[in-house]
Point group: C3
Chain length 315, copies 3
């Protein structure tokens, strides 16, 4: 008996996932995948073919999805550069591209796109499940899932956590999707730490108000580093128009370094969706609270679990 | 007992295919593939590796070939950008590239190239079968096969059809290859509908005359839309130098819209090799006579059948 | 009982390989692979996933590694353009990229990079084996292995050979790695044939002196063509800054053509790492002494053997 969410099996935005689905279906299966992958060969998805259609390159996310497929015995057709080389250049709409790929008996299509809402447009015409692997400044729902899975694995609970989201919040996709997901849990307190010019957009803040999630906006990470259970650091999204200088102390303090480590609680964790540039200094990497590479690993289990649920629900 | 054609198992140009081979081998196997792919796992090509060598990008065609391989249990090494990134930049000839790939025990090589005749040059030095997936303004023989398969599936026969080929005929590869194939059947009548500056090239017209295929050239689709069984629409090949303006009514009428739908016979079909830009308006998509997405699906069965015939003839 | 070398199972530089390992492990397994691949399906690497991370494109090398994996039943996640499209553009270090990929349970990572030493930097932080598929002007150790395998297969021995290395020696990666390997054998004599401006770098010459390998520098291939067992021709590495004109007879003679063929011993061979431009004229190709395409094939067996040793040592 499944507790699936609205829109299933399309995975388009973090709002879709219900708390019940996460707790009864997703967390247990992702944890099982973590065990299974160690044992080696899975044949769950033998004969299934995933299409990865990346209009915007992301080797990390693409490898994560593709490995999740291959490690379960499935296979992949892949393009890492759909924008420049596909029929898009010739003027084809994403709707036509999807209608065509559906004819090829692909079992699932994973899309990364540079425009907000592209995945939803794809799903509207698709006869096979669509997974949004990031669309413009919109969403990146599987990143949000791996983020909550990480909090669950590292801290043992999501209810009642205090989390600081730090950096280029106005352009960051991951902090948006994560905010939606955290609103499904209770007692969560969010600190948005960003310069005033890059604070979280109003739509998310409205959503949090509506769902009675406490949040606070500030400009200096040092003010909350000692209180939070999670620091979720983000990169300056220069490709999406970041204009502030992270090193300009007059607009705030957003870096994670030894200073922050010294302020942090002993059982707190540092997360980051990666790639990391210099917003977390490498001196932090060896600290056991640095969870960002383990977090990346949870991305594999997350995508393995999702693909298994979508493609072999009764296996 | 095989009715294979000259040059087998290389697939280089539509002229190769005999009517006997299409009727006794290709159509039956392609239809069988259509059934088999629904049942899921095929293991026919287990252990076989296809190389896809695309010097000119075509996500659609590449995905179609690769899915055809994977759905039969085979595997793929792939480059979607051979022109820019391979040793071509360093000055290697295609002959040397092919001689090298032959040493890697690839079981079949699928080539898409920007120069006419590249596939034939490759086949001349290759010890493994070469499949032409489009070369310059030359040919695209597997597209021609999926086109006649579509006509066979949709109309039940190819003999005696009336077909309008519409648009940028001077640059279109698909209409050239399809003309060669239709000449294998009897009673076919072709209407070439294009502005005078983009009419079908003389070599094809000479071929049709020689094979006693009736054809006519005109500039207004409305004049024949009511008489034909198939309208084969094509895209303006801007990347190959199309210079006419499709919307300039003084040179003719080449669009498919409600006007054309209203003129067409009830059992006629509309085909298009895709991608479609605006030469078929989206209002046409919902009409049952719009066969272009089903046509794309036939590409999968076509390539599955060809790969099976080439790689596992006695399975 | 294994005779593996220092650093195993990372494959970073030709110096690592011991003569004992080559003779007891590598040559026998590579020759076995040559036989096995003919028989078809291998399942040795079923369930294993290789990541190919190419920051610099090389379709030839990538296809060779990927085919070596697929032909043994393994699978591949691949990027042919990591430099332009991955998170490198966003400023990620190779160390972070590798730490992330390790979290994805990739079983081995094959790296090609534009910077000297990149593979070693990757290995320093990796929890999975790293194979160097060429880094900058540094090394290309699997090329060196396939080169000595070729000499072993073609001539039956490596001790006591006379070899001319010809062309752009200052920029050539392959001749550097091969020199390191030949120093493991005895009685080898090397002739470096290059214009003065492109002669072998001092580090290699120092290494040869230290290991008592005889070598000589000259500028005209005709002077030694009749004495050597192997002519190892190389391409002008224009992308790495070659500045001399191969056709300028005032600086020397470096081409292989009929003149050179006529001078060569009957049982000598011509090798080339490919791609070949015009430094070996095509009139040479039909001569049985032209071993360069067979040499490329040995690349497949070399990589099959290495991947088997790394991923399934006890199979």
């Amino acid at each position: 008996m499944s507790a699936h969410f609205d829109g299933w099996p399309n995975i388009l935005e973090a709002q879709q996932f219900t708390r019940k689905w996460m707790e009864l279906e997703f967390f247990p299966l992702a944890l099982e995948m973590k065990k299974l992958v160690l044992r080696g060969i899975l044949e769950i998805l033998r004969g299934k073919v995933m299409g990865t259609l990346f209009y915007e390159s992301s080797t990390r996310t693409r490898f994560s999805f593709e490995t999740a497929m291959l490690k379960q015995g499935g296979n992949v057709v892949s393009t890492e550069n759909a924008r420049e080389f596909s029929s898009t250049v010739k003027g084809e709409t994403i709707e036509d591209t999807i209608r065509t790929l559906c004819q090829y008996y692909l079992d699932v299509i994973v899309i990364r796109h540079y425009e907000d809402g592209a995945a939803a447009r794809a799903a509207a015409v698709s006869s096979v499940p669509i997974v949004n692997a990031g669309d413009g400044k919109g969403q990146h729902p599987t990143q949000a899932l791996l983020d909550v899975l990480t909090i669950m694995i590292e801290l043992g609970h999501i209810d009642d956590i205090k989390i600081a989201m730090v950096g280029d919040l106005i352009n960051g996709r991951t902090v948006r999707s994560l905010s939606y997901l955290l609103a499904k849990f209770s007692g969560v307190k969010i600190y948005f730490v960003a310069p005033e010019c890059a604070q979280m957009r109003p739509d998310i803040k409205d959503y949090l108000v509506k769902h009675a999630v406490e949040f606070e906006e500030l400009t200096d990470l040092r003010d909350v580093a000692g209180q939070v259970d999670v620091i979720y650091q983000t990169r300056s999204q220069k490709e999406r128009g970041t204009s502030f200088d992270r090193n300009d102390r007059s607009i705030g303090f957003f870096d994670i370094n030894k200073t922050i480590l010294n302020l942090m609680k002993q059982d707190a964790i540092i997360m980051h969706p990666l790639p990391r540039v210099d917003e977390i200094s490498t001196e932090v990497d060896a600290d056991p609270r640095a969870a960002y590479f383990r977090q990346a690993g949870n991305g594999l289990y997350t995508r393995m679990a999702l693909l298994k649920m979508i493609l072999a629900p009764n296996f």
